[in-house]
Symmetry: C2
Subunit: 341 residues, 2 copies
DNA sequence: ATGAAAGCGCTAACAG
DNA sequence: CTGTTAGCGCTTTCAT
């Protein structure tokens, strides 16, 4: 095995000796304790700087039972939405001096449980689960492993909801986001509004409820054949729709931008005009939305706000203060040329 | 401050007592030392399982001076290319039982240095820098911080190159990738081939050299006005090109898919046919490539292969074996409808 | 094959 | 304000 160093690193004893103080004092200086005179502090700091000393984080971790690290688990960082969430989280955590350990769990139940278990073993100070994938159908047994985890460290759910002590949820109001959008489509006279989704996660269901309620509230029937479950791959969506017979719609709402782009490709391939004949609205306001032609209107769930809120809340909590168990952030529709709302 | 636990966790002493052995033996079992009889091993393991015991990683880290963790630094995980690289790296590292600490450094010199410094303080077993952004112009002073880091732990560069002991480079042959593509465009009769780039990083320059050499080798002049530096934002690219007067080209090659999509949008807005009048080729084979219309041919730098190779090489190295300092992986053109090569 | 004991580098209670 | 000292939980000689 490779050795990290040949020469022994300076430890707290060396610094103490060089500064002519005890190790306790050095430790206090490192932790910026108020019970050290500014004079000694300065002297010790000078030595530390001069010697380029950095405390051993392992020893520190042992003593404090913390390494200022939080675990972030998401199914897949290669996914654009999660990637940006992770980016926000990491950035914000670093503002507070925390590092983050990333674990991409994949989408399978067993793997997700394993992820939580392994990351807890690393003794992170808190856990963040990105995406509603971690709740299964929200049932008791599906969320057990999360509840268990919350007994060890605070758990934060980004876009997920589990009612339990020690679990803190920060989520976009996707129900309302879709509800509002569908209402506007209906008000504008659209009668056959397609709903595209690719999972049965908590947030996907929320969106579907928003869709259904909006239809009903606008005197439209919920037509099951207009709810289409398909994998979030642009070409697959297009081909799938292509394969349907008698599929007629004058608007489409999707739970993911990729789905909407697929629908858009289908519609244009059919020779229909967007937005004149068909309005299309995506979700997440990802880069895909500005890539397609015409550009896609999309519901923005404001990941940045969610993530910032989650981290700030976490810090408040770790500080011993009380925080809310559920924080809901409203969505916002970003209008582009695929709609004429 | 919150306490992680109220009840004291089981430690090695407890397990030793319960199993009727010494802590040394328990430790040996944990580390699967060959000098423990299978019989005792089994007994100790049984107790550990029964008690649901997991060794304290901090104490372990202190003793071994390692926590089986590697640091991954990239400018921004929200970027699709880096996100997928991080995803691959994380996955592969986990196969070997390593965790990863993620640091998004941003693009600024100072921040990058800080990132390296902070992550080294966490005593990671190795460091991975994703992207050629970490080399500056490749000069001595620009890479000093990386060379310094390599004295502490092995440093792996994904798509970067620095010649130095302890620095291991795994990179795509972007020069050849672009060279080949431009040759084919030239052979097909294209005379005015645009080159779009958005940075002066090592790999961007490699690509540019590939472009220039291919032109020369095919008897074409390098026209500086055809080399366009512009920010990698689809609309910005389109608008920038729109603002140019007398811009004429019959093909475009870009260092990033986003740039190519911008060019594609420009060309179509101008009313020209793709690929008949203008061939367009992107780089990275990202999701953007299948989102636009027509879909974009793109050079795939095979991030998965790079990352897998990097991690495997790292493990070989950490195992004390010798490994190559530079590994080059060929690119591959993924053809779609934006070209008729 | 197993155990006793000396660290690893730091924190924190306690004493002054 | 500062120093002494006892852990934190594990690894690793060194005996046996």
């Amino acid at each position: 095995m490779q050795q990290r160093k040949e020469v022994r690193e300076l430890n707290i004893y060396d610094i103490a000796k060089l500064a002519g103080v005890s190790i306790a004092t050095v430790s206090r200086v490192v932790n910026d304790s108020p019970k050290v005179s500014e004079k000694t502090k300065a002297r010790v700091r000078a030595v530390m700087k001069e010697q380029n000393y950095t405390p051993n984080v392992f020893a520190r971790g042992l003593g404090l039972n913390s390494m200022q690290t939080v675990g972030i688990i998401c199914p897949d960082v290669a996914d654009a939405y999660m990637a940006s969430a992770v980016a926000y989280l990491e950035k914000r955590l670093r503002c507070y001096g925390y590092d983050c350990i990333l674990y991409c769990s994949g989408y399978e139940e067993k793997a997700k449980k394993k992820a939580v278990k392994l990351i807890l073993n690393k003794r992170v100070d808190a856990l963040i689960l990105v995406g509603s994938q971690y709740m299964g159908d929200g049932g008791e047994s599906d969320t057990r492993y999360i509840r268990e985890a919350s007994k060890e460290v605070p758990v934060f759910l980004i876009n997920g909801y589990v009612r339990c002590d020690g679990i803190y949820c920060v989520l976009a109001d996707s129900y309302q986001g879709i509800y509002d959008v569908v209402c506007r489509l209906a008000e504008q006279g659209r009668k056959r509004i397609l709903f595209l989704y690719d999972s049965n996660s908590y947030s996907a269901l929320e969106k579907m409820h928003g869709y259904e309620d909006a239809l009903r509230d606008n005197g439209l029937q919920v037509d099951e054949s207009l709810k289409i479950y398909v994998k979030n791959k642009i070409q697959q969506v297009r081909d799938y729709l292509m394969a349907q017979e008698d599929l007629v719609f004058d608007a489409a709402v999707a739970t993911e931008d990729g789905l909407a782009v697929g629908a858009l490709k289908y519609v244009r391939q059919k020779g229909c005009a967007v937005p004149e004949e068909v309005n299309i609205i995506g979700y997440n306001n990802s880069e895909l939305a500005v890539c397609c032609e015409p550009e896609l209107s999309s519901v923005d769930s404001r990941g940045e706000v969610l993530c910032k809120t989650a981290v700030d809340t976490m810090m408040t909590l770790l500080n011993g203060e009380h925080v809310k168990h559920k924080i809901v952030v409203p969505c916002r529709l970003v209008k582009r040329r695929s709609t004429n709302l």
